[in-house]
C-alpha cells in the first residue's frame, strides 16, 4: 500500500538498499555511510559546516525577549498590559487555592479550624475503601497517618491542596481543548503538533515565562503546574472521543440526539475509560510539577526538599522524599481505583444503606471535629511527638560513605576518565552538517520525504539556535545514560519476562517507581556521588530505565503463544527461543520503550542540571536566574526537538517493522 504511493525511482533505490541476503548490513551501511563520510571529512570541512558561527545563529532569544518585553510593556487597547492580564487571571487562582488549603490544614479563622488530621486520614480510608476495597483504605490510612506522625503534615497538605486545585483546572482545560479539536478538523491539525511539543518540553521551560508574567510565588507554581499538566488531558480526550465505537454513536443518532446531547450524553461518557487514564496522569503530573515548582516559589514539600538538598542535608531530604513518595503512591492508587471503578447497581433502602460511604465520610468528619476539640493532638500532631528519621538516615549514609567511598570513587573516576570524557570529546567533534545528513537519510528511509523534511527542520533549529555545543553535551549525557538504561532495562526485562510471578513483582516495582516525581531521583544520586556530572547521569539512569524495562517485558510477553510453541517443537533450546524468536518479535515494543527512555532522560537532564552540569539544562537554570524567558524557551525547544527527532524516527521505524512482522 505505502509503496504504491512512492515514485518509481525512489522505489528502485529503496529496493536496492534493502537488496537480498544480508540486507540488514546493507541498510545499516546505507543509512550510516553519509554521516560517517561527513564525520570523516570533519576536520577538512569549512568551520561553518561544523559549528554555525554565532553571528549567523538565528536571534531566537532576542526575538522572544522582544516579544516578551512588548507583552510586558505595551498596553492592549491602551488599557492594560498583557502582564496585567495574566496577573489578574493568576490572582483568581488564589481563591480556590486559599479555600482548599484552609479546609485541609490552615483553617478559616481561629474559631473555624481546618480539618483535623484524623479527619483527613479517616476520609482517605473511606475513599480508598469505597473506590477499591478495604486494602486500599488501609494503605491510604497508613500514608496519611505517616505524614502526620512524622511531622510533615502541614507541608504535605499544602502540596496536596495545590494538586487538588491544579488537577481539576488542568483537566477541564484539557477536556475543553480535546472536545474543540474533536469537533473541528482544522483545530485538531493545529493543536496536535503543539501538544507534541508541549509534552516534550522539560518542566523548567514552563517556569520562566510563568515567573515573568505572574511573578515568583505559590500561585505562579500552581499555574506552571496547570500549564504543564493539561496537554496530556487534551490529547487523551481527543483520543477517547475518536475511539467511541461507531455503533454507540449510531445508537445515539437513532435515539434522536442533538449534537449537544450526543456529546454530553453519549460520546463523553462512552470515552470514560480513556478520560480516566487522563485524570490519573494529570494528577501525577501535577504532583511531579508542584514538587519542582518550588524553584519558582511554590510552597510545600518540594520547597523544603529543595532547601535541604541545597544545603546537602541528605538525611532530612530523604525524609521528605519518603513523604513525597507516599503522596505519589496514594494519589496514583486512588485515582487508578477511581478509573477502574465500574458502576454497580444500588441497594434499596434508606439513605445510609444506599450511600454507605457518604454516610461514613460524614460521620468521620463530625466525630473527628468533636474529638479534636477535646484532644488537640488529633487536630495537629504536636511537634514534640513527631518522629524524625533524619539522624538515622544520616548515620546510614555516613556508613555507606565510610565503607564504600573508595569503591564509589573508583567507579566514578574510571568511568569519567576512560568512558565519559572521551565520549564527550567525540561528541563535541560532531559537525551539525553530519547530524543533518544523518537525520534526513534515516527520516527518508523509514518515513518518506515528509518525515525527512521535519527531521531537517529540527536539525537545522538545533544548529542555528546558537547552543550547539551545549546541545552536544546534552546529547552525550543523554546517550550515555540511555545506553546504560537499555542494558540494564533489557536484562531486567528479559529476566522478569521469564515467568509470571517475576513479571508481577517487577511490574509492581516499576509501577510504583514510575509514579515518583522525577525530583526524587536526585536524592540517591547526590547521596552517593555528591554533586557532579556523574551523579547527574546516575539520576538519569535510575529514572529512565523504567520504560525500557517495562516495554521489554511487555514485548516479550506479547509474543503469540503458538509461535513460541512452534519454535519449541522445531527443537529450539530456550536460549534460541529467546534470541531467535521472542526478541526479534518483541523488538518493536522494546524500541518504543527506548524511545520513552530517551524522553525521560531528556527531562531528567534538565532537572539534574541542579547538581551542576554543563549542558542545556544548566543554560535553562541560568536563564532562570536572570529571568531570561527567551533563552529558557529556546533552550527548552532544543531539548524538546532532540526528543521529538528521536521519537519520530523510532516511531517510523517501529511502524514499518511491525507491518513487516504482521503485528498490527
Amino acid at each position: 500500500m505505502a509503496e504504491s504511493a512512492v515514485p518509481n525511482g525512489e522505489l528502485a533505490l529503496r529496493r536496492w538498499v534493502a537488496g537480498t541476503g544480508q540486507s540488514g548490513l546493507r541498510v545499516a551501511l546505507f543509512l550510516v555511510a553519509p554521516s560517517v563520510l561527513v564525520l570523516a571529512l570533519g576536520p577538512f570541512l569549512p568551520d561553518w559546516l561544523r559549528i554555525v558561527p554565532q553571528e549567523w545563529s538565528a536571534p531566537f532569544v532576542g526575538w522572544i525577549n522582544a516579544a516578551v518585553e512588548i507583552l510586558r510593556r505595551e498596553e492592549i487597547f491602551g488599557l492594560f498590559t498583557f502582564r496585567d492580564l495574566t496577573r489578574a487571571i493568576a490572582n483568581l487562582i488564589d481563591y480556590p487555592l486559599d479555600f482548599v488549603e484552609a479546609i485541609l490544614v490552615a483553617g478559616f479563622s481561629e474559631s473555624v479550624p481546618g480539618l483535623p488530621w484524623i479527619a483527613v486520614t479517616g476520609l482517605a480510608i473511606v475513599l480508598g475503601w469505597y473506590l477499591q476495597g478495604r486494602q486500599l483504605g488501609v494503605i491510604a490510612g497508613i500514608c496519611f497517618a505517616y505524614m502526620a506522625i512524622f511531622g510533615k503534615w502541614e507541608l504535605s497538605m499544602v502540596t496536596l491542596s495545590v494538586v487538588l486545585v491544579a488537577a481539576p483546572i488542568a483537566g477541564a482545560i484539557g477536556v475543553a481543548l480535546g472536545i474543540a479539536a474533536y469537533k473541528r478538523r482544522w483545530f485538531e491539525t493545529v493543536l496536535w503538533p503543539i501538544l507534541n511539543v508541549m509534552q516534550a518540553l522539560p518542566h523548567f521551560s514552563y517556569m520562566i515565562p510563568v515567573a515573568i508574567f505572574i511573578g515568583i510565588g505559590h500561585k505562579a507554581g500552581t499555574i506552571a503546574t496547570i500549564i504543564f499538566a493539561f496537554p496530556v488531558m487534551a490529547r487523551l480526550t481527543l483520543l477517547g472521543l475518536k475511539g467511541v465505537s461507531p455503533e454507540v454513536r449510531e445508537a445515539g443518532t437513532m435515539a434522536g440526539c442533538t449534537k449537544r446531547q450526543m456529546l454530553w450524553k453519549v460520546e463523553l461518557p462512552a470515552a470514560r475509560p480513556t478520560l480516566m487514564v487522563g485524570v490519573n496522569q494529570v494528577i501525577m503530573l501535577c504532583l511531579a510539577m508542584v514538587v519542582l515548582a518550588s524553584f519558582v516559589g511554590a510552597k510545600g514539600l518540594g520547597h523544603d526538599l529543595l532547601n535541604r538538598l541545597r544545603s546537602l542535608w541528605i538525611g532530612q531530604a530523604l525524609e521528605i522524599g519518603v513523604v513525597i513518595v507516599f503522596m505519589a503512591i496514594i494519589l496514583d492508587r486512588l485515582s487508578q481505583a477511581w478509573a477502574r471503578k465500574e458502576p454497580e447497581h444500588m441497594r434499596e433502602g434508606p439513605f445510609h444503606v444506599r450511600h454507605p460511604f457518604l454516610t461514613a465520610g460524614a460521620a468521620v468528619v463530625v466525630v473527628s471535629y468533636v474529638m479534636a476539640a477535646f484532644v488537640p493532638a488529633l487536630q495537629l500532631w504536636p511537634k514534640s511527638l513527631s518522629i524524625t528519621t533524619a539522624p538515622l538516615w544520616d548515620a546510614l549514609i555516613d556508613d555507606i560513605i565510610v565503607y564504600a567511598f573508595d569503591y564509589l570513587e573508583l567507579i566514578k573516576d574510571t568511568l569519567l576518565v576512560h568512558v565519559l570524557i572521551p565520549m564527550r570529546d567525540l561528541y563535541l567533534m560532531l559537525p551539525w552538517s553530519a547530524l543533518l545528513v544523518f537525520a534526513v537519510t534515516l527520516g527518508w528511509y523509514y518515513g518518506g520525504w515528509q518525515v525527512a523534511g521535519i527531521q531537517a527542520l529540527f536539525a537545522l533549529y538545533l544548529a542555528f539556535a546558537g547552543f550547539w555545543e551545549r546541545t552536544l553535551i546534552t546529547a552525550y549525557m543523554v546517550s550515555f545514560a540511555v545506553i546504560v538504561c537499555v542494558i540494564i532495562g533489557s536484562i531486567v526485562g528479559i529476566w522478569a519476562a521469564a515467568g509470571p510471578r517475576r513479571t508481577k513483582v517487577v511490574e509492581l516495582i516499576l509501577d510504583t517507581f514510575q509514579t515518583f516525581p522525577s525530583f526524587i531521583y536526585l536524592i540517591p544520586a547526590i547521596m552517593l556521588f555528591s554533586v557532579n556530572d556523574f551523579a547527574a547521569i546516575m539520576a538519569i539512569v535510575i529514572y529512565a530505565t523504567i520504560p525500557t524495562t517495562r516495554l521489554t517485558i511487555f514485548g516479550l510477553r506479547m509474543v503469540p503463544h503458538d509461535i513460541v510453541e512452534a519454535a519449541i517443537t522445531s527443537g529450539c533450546t530456550p536460549r534460541q527461543v529467546l534470541w531467535k524468536v521472542r526478541m526479534p518479535l518483541a523488538f518493536p515494543a522494546i524500541m518504543l520503550g527506548i524511545n520513552q527512555t530517551i524522553m525521560y532522560a531528556l527531562f531528567m537532564v534538565v532537572i539534574a542540571a541542579f547538581i551542576g552540569t554543563t549542558d542545556l539544562g544548566q543554560e535553562i537554570f541560568r536563564s532562570k536566574a536572570d529571568n531570561n524567558a527567551g533563552k529558557s524557551l529556546v533552550v527548552g525547544l532544543c531539548i524538546a526537538f532532540m526528543g521529538l527527532m528521536a521519537d519520530q524516527l523510532i516511531n517510523a521505524w517501529a511502524r514499518e517493522r511491525k507491518k513487516l512482522l504482521g503485528l498490527e
Binding site: 454507540v248 445508537a251 443518532t253 437513532m254 435515539a255 442533538t258 450524553k265 461518557p269 470514560r272 458502576p343
Partner: protein, 344 residues
C-alpha cells in the same frame, strides 16, 4: 398497500468524489469503471419496499452491503444517489431538525454489538431515547419499566450492562429501540454475537414481540436459517446489489442465480415448504384416509402423519374445502431425493 419504507435506485460509493463520478457515468457506472477509478461500491442500484407489519430480512455474505443499505434507509449514512421514501415522504430531503423528530418517534434500531451506554443502568439505557426527547423522568421511567418487563428483564432495571449476559444485553438493546414505540424497526444482525442456544431463544422472543407489536421491520442477518424462521420476505444481496427478493419458499424453489442457490442449498426444505408444494389434485374415486392436513402446514410438521398412513391424506384450505391429496410417496421423495419440486 403502500410501502411503509422504500428505497429506489440507491447507490452508496466510497471514494474521492462519488457524486461527481456517478454523474459522469450517467448514474449507472459499469463494474470496470468503478474498480478502475478506485471506488468502493457498498450499495449499487438497490430498490426495495417494506410493507406495514412485514418482516423483510436482508441477507448476504460479509461485506455485501447489508449494513450500508439499512443505514441508508434510516439515513445514518447519506446515500450517494437514489431516494428513500418513508411513509411516501423523501427522507433524503427532510431537514436535519425534522429528521431528528422522525428518529425520535418513528424509528428504532438494534445493533450487532448492542451499543449500550456502559455508564447507564438498564433502566436509564431504555429510557435514553425518551430522555433526549425531554420526556419527564417519572413518565419515561414508567414507560421504560413496562418495556423492560415486556422483554423479560423485570427486576434487572438497576443493573449496569456489564452485569448482564450477552443475551440480556441484547434484550436491553431491543427494549431501548422499542421505547419510543417506533413504526419502523431496523435490526442489524442483532443475534449474531450470541451463541446458538441463546440466539434461538432470542429469535422466539423476537417473534413473540412481533406478533404483539406488528412493526415494520428490516432485519439483517447472514444466517439463512434465521432468515427463514423470521422472514415474510427475504432480500439477498451480493457485492452491493440486491439479487433477489421473495418469500423463503420462492428463494428455495426458484433461486435467481447460483449465489442465491448456494445460500439455499443446505436448507431443510421440509421445514420450509408447505403441503401445498407437494400435494396433488384429488383423483375421482381414489381411496383416501380419514385424516386431513392443511395446505399451509409445513411438510415437516405433518410428515409423520402422512408417512404413517397407507392411504393418501386429504388436503384442506383455510376454509376447510378439500383442494388436493398428499401421498406417502410424494413426501418421501421430497424428504430424501431433494429434487426441486414444483408441487401438484
Amino acid at each position: 398497500m403502500d410501502a411503509k419504507i422504500a428505497c429506489r435506485r440507491v447507490w452508496k460509493l466510497y471514494g474521492r468524489d462519488p457524486e461527481g463520478f456517478l454523474a459522469a457515468h450517467g448514474g449507472d457506472p459499469s463494474d470496470g469503471a468503478i474498480v478502475a477509478d478506485g471506488y468502493i461500491p457498498a450499495v449499487r442500484h438497490a430498490s426495495l419496499e417494506v410493507f406495514p407489519g412485514e418482516i423483510l430480512v436482508i441477507m448476504g455474505l460479509s461485506g455485501s452491503g447489508k449494513s450500508t443499505l439499512v443505514r441508508c434507509l434510516s439515513r445514518l449514512i447519506e446515500p450517494t444517489a437514489g431516494e428513500v421514501l418513508f411513509d411516501g415522504q423523501d427522507l433524503l430531503k427532510v431537514p436535519a431538525r425534522e429528521l431528528i423528530e422522525i428518529r425520535r418517534h418513528k424509528m428504532g434500531m438494534v445493533f450487532q454489538h448492542f451499543a449500550l451506554l456502559p455508564h447507564r443502568t438498564v433502566l436509564q439505557n431504555v429510557a435514553f431515547p425518551l430522555e433526549v426527547q425531554g420526556v419527564d423522568r417519572a413518565t419515561r421511567e414508567q414507560r421504560a419499566l413496562e418495556i423492560i418487563e415486556l422483554v423479560g428483564l423485570k427486576g434487572r432495571d438497576r443493573y449496569y450492562p456489564r452485569e448482564l449476559s450477552g443475551g440480556q444485553q441484547q434484550r436491553v438493546g431491543i427494549a431501548r429501540s422499542l421505547a419510543v414505540e417506533p413504526d419502523v424497526w431496523f435490526l442489524d444482525e442483532p443475534f449474531s454475537a450470541l451463541d446458538p442456544l441463546i440466539r434461538r431463544e432470542m429469535q422466539d422472543e423476537f417473534l413473540r414481540l412481533q406478533t404483539m407489536l406488528r412493526k415494520t421491520i428490516a432485519f439483517i442477518t447472514h444466517d439463512f436459517d434465521e432468515a427463514i424462521r423470521l422472514a415474510d420476505r427475504i432480500a439477498i444481496m451480493n457485492e452491493g446489489r440486491i439479487v433477489q427478493i421473495g418469500t423463503p419458499e420462492e428463494l428455495v424453489t426458484r433461486p435467481a442465480d447460483d449465489y442465491v442457490a448456494n445460500f439455499t442449498r443446505d436448507v431443510a426444505r421440509e421445514k420450509l415448504l408447505t403441503i401445498a408444494s407437494v400435494m396433488q389434485a384429488p383423483a375421482v374415486g381414489q381411496p383416501v384416509s380419514d385424516g386431513t392436513v392443511r395446505q399451509t402446514d409445513k411438510v415437516a410438521d405433518v410428515a409423520r402423519q402422512i408417512v404413517g398412513s397407507e392411504l393418501p391424506l386429504r388436503v384442506a384450505d383455510d376454509s376447510d374445502r378439500i383442494v388436493g391429496v398428499v401421498s406417502r410417496a410424494r413426501v418421501l421423495d421430497m424428504l430424501f431425493s431433494r429434487e426441486p419440486d414444483s408441487g401438484g
